[in-house]
């Protein structure tokens, strides 16, 4: 039974805040396959194309037949714990601060025996479900979870280190005008968020539902305009020290290609979608990165909502797609810059959203509620790349297969 995670006590202002430390980082290039799968919530191992062996840890050649023809494939997650260890002493600063730490050997039904982290609810002899997750150093690591959901299992301290769960954390949603704002608030509170701050730009424009949102329990509406540097800095000065999760929902979309549209709308799109992200990161990022070891409500994640056309342009939304590609690129740099702190940069890629700017498009379109669910799932699972909706998942798959073919298909030249 996992001990229920209690809301943290108020901080003792006389104690120094913990400085982030990271688990070991050195890995082989082959092992980055684990990172790649963990980033999107897949469970993949190396499969030998010659002899069919499934192997772990990842290597450059097959351990059975020495073939170098190895492919990363979805693999069955079930296995059995054959040994467990509780570590009480470690020279590694990261683990030293988190002792005791349980690890064990698990025999996977797919073949390999794996040394992995153990969830508190699994013990020797138990059948388990193996999960691949990113640790604070951004490495793909395995944790053996109970096969069936156990009560409060997400509160397990070892699992919580590998996720960005909103429970007891304080979340900033940057734009109240986004259709996803309201369902996202509901989903976050349901997941146990302690408080939700919601940014409101241009309060002089009035918004029909803003008063209703501001009246919700545990929700505060605060002025924030991501296109205005002074506004971003001001809010960061106010709440930057208690923003544990930042979810950037601000975006500007206008339909139209590149030739037929002027650069005024495009500039707005870049101002909000790309430079807005940069302003948020500059204002909130350093404070969040310094608080990634700050106890139960430590800072964990910076979430960015992107169109899946960040990967390959939709010519019907030319400038918007370009702004999304720019935002994706910025997020990759931020991920590199946040790496030393363990702050997770999550991109949630969505297909066309069900709103006024995609109104004439045929379904399937992503409903705000579905997008909210994906964002919260991404946090709870600790992913880096989340694809929300059939269109986004389909596009991702086609992009992985052949970006040029996808480009041609999106151009209508299939």
């Amino acid at each position: 039974m996992t001990d229920k995670l209690l809301p943290p006590k108020k901080k003792n202002p006389q104690l120094r805040q913990m400085v982030p430390t990271l688990p070991p980082q050195m890995r082989s290039r082959a092992a980055l396959g684990l990172t790649s799968a963990a980033a999107r919530g897949a469970f993949m191992l190396q499969h030998c194309e010659e002899c069919g062996a499934v192997q772990y840890p990842p290597r450059d050649a097959c351990g059975s037949c020495l073939s170098v023809d190895l492919a990363w494939r979805e693999t069955a997650r079930d296995g059995t714990v054959i040994a467990e260890t509780r570590i009480h002493a470690s020279p590694d600063p990261y683990y030293r601060e988190r002792l005791p730490w349980r690890s064990g050997l698990v025999r996977l039904s797919a073949g390999p025996t794996v040394l992995c982290h153990l969830h508190g609810d699994v013990k020797r002899g138990d059948p388990i479900r193996m999960d691949l997750k990113l640790d604070k150093a951004g490495q793909g690591v395995m944790i053996a979870l109970p096969q069936e959901r156990s009560p409060d299992m997400e509160d397990d301290p070892q699992l919580r280190e590998l996720t960005a769960h909103p429970k007891h954390r304080r979340v900033l949603i940057t734009d109240i005008r986004s259709p996803v704002a309201q369902p996202l608030i509901e989903a976050l509170l349901k997941a146990g968020a302690a408080q939700v701050f919601v940014g409101e730009s241009e309060s002089w424009r009035r918004g029909s539902d803003h008063a209703a949102i501001a009246a919700l329990d545990k929700v505060s509406v605060l002025p924030l305009d991501v296109s205005d540097p002074s506004s971003v800095k001001k809010l960061a000065a106010e709440i930057g020290g208690k923003t544990d999760i930042l979810i950037n929902t601000a975006r500007h979309v206008r339909p139209g290609g590149v030739l037929g549209s002027d650069t005024v709308f495009a500039r707005e799109e870049f101002e909000i979608n790309a430079l807005g992200l940069m302003r948020l990161a500059q204002a909130f990022g350093p404070g969040m990165a310094s608080r990634t070891a700050d106890g139960v409500n430590s800072a964990v994640a910076f979430v960015n909502v992107l169109s899946v056309h960040a990967l390959s342009a939709d010519p019907h939304y030319g400038a918007f797609s370009a702004s999304q590609a720019a935002a994706l690129s910025i997020s990759q740099t931020l991920r590199a810059e946040f790496a030393s702190s363990g702050l997770r940069m999550i991109n949630v890629f969505t297909g066309p959203t069900d709103d006024e700017w995609h109104q004439p498009l045929p379904p399937p379109k992503v409903a705000p509620k579905a997008l909210a669910k994906s964002i919260v799932e991404g946090l709870c699972e600790g992913l880096e790349d989340v694809f929300c909706g059939d269109v986004a998942r389909d596009l991702e798959e086609r992009w992985r297969r052949d970006p040029k073919v996808l480009e041609r298909e999106l151009a209508g030249g299939g």
Partner: protein, 265 residues
């Protein structure tokens, strides 16, 4: 030979002529006109620090700023509107600079605007004003005082489901002012037209008729309650933007001090 400016210099020095600032601060959060979202929008005022006595520029602080020609307290040139597109010298850089300094009269509609968000300036109000203060002199600025500049936040645009609600002139009122051959018309609201100005014939009569006649506009003015109905001098030079349709500007008024006789002290 006496210098006619000597008197002004002395009056400014002894305070018998006061300078009143009619300008709102350029602030990123100051309202601008909001159009239906499918149209291009008026850029808000934005300011980015280039350096602040730091590594980016050790001994100096400066900003890049950006905005629309029609952001904040601003000037409208004739070419701003389709009706004025062919007006000769209708861009801000082409306008004769003598236009930028001149007499100003103020029609006080503040009482009506306090009662009715959609208060209209009508020919009857202009006639009544003239009965009290005399005919509006040709080539003068006419400002409509509503005290709207004292409103803050959402009450300024006063946007509702059926559009913004703020006071402004009727088409007939603008015709009346044009018959007096005024220089231009100014307001405290976000535009020279009423919030519901789209529903007049012609739509946006102040813009359409004034600019069509080669006249100028001023909007987002403040402190109009500090101006006398007649007798003040307006200084309103827009930036010299090549082909510009308008410009943010500092608007000042020279006002005879009211304390001279002690009656309004």
């Amino acid at each position: 030979m006496t210098n006619p400016l000597d008197g002004l210099a002395a009056a400014l020095a002894d305070g018998s002529v006061e300078i009143v600032d009619l300008t709102h601060t350029l602030d990123p959060d100051f309202p601008v006109i909001v159009l239906p979202p499918e149209f291009g929008q008026c850029a808000r005022f934005r300011m980015e620090e280039v350096s602040a006595y730091d590594g980016r520029g050790p001994a100096w602080k400066w900003h890049n700023i950006s905005m629309n020609e029609h952001t904040g307290t601003h000037f409208d040139a004739p070419i701003h509107w389709v009706s004025g597109r062919d007006v000769a010298n209708g861009a801000v850089d082409e306008i004769d600079p003598s236009v930028f300094v001149g007499p100003v009269v103020v029609i006080d509609c503040s009482e009506g605007a306090a009662r009715n968000d959609d208060f209209e300036l009508t020919p009857e109000i202009i006639v009544a004003w003239e009965a009290e203060h005399g005919s509006i002199p040709a080539d003068s600025w006419v400002l409509m005082r509503t005290d709207w500049s004292k409103r803050r936040g959402a009450d300024y645009l006063n946007m509702a489901d059926d559009g913004p609600h703020s006071p402004g002139p009727t088409p007939a009122a603008i015709e009346k002012l044009l018959a007096r051959n005024i220089r231009g018309f100014g307001t405290e609201t976000v535009g020279t037209d009423a919030g519901q100005g789209a529903h007049y014939v012609p739509p946006y009569p102040a813009h359409y008729l004034l600019h069509g006649a080669g006249k100028y506009g001023l909007q987002c003015l403040s402190n109009l309650d500090r101006l006398p109905p007649t007798g003040a001098m307006l200084i309103a030079p827009p930036l010299k933007i090549k082909g510009g349709t308008g410009s943010p500007l500092r608007v000042l008024a020279l006002v005879p001090a009211r304390t001279g006789s002690g009656e309004n002290a």
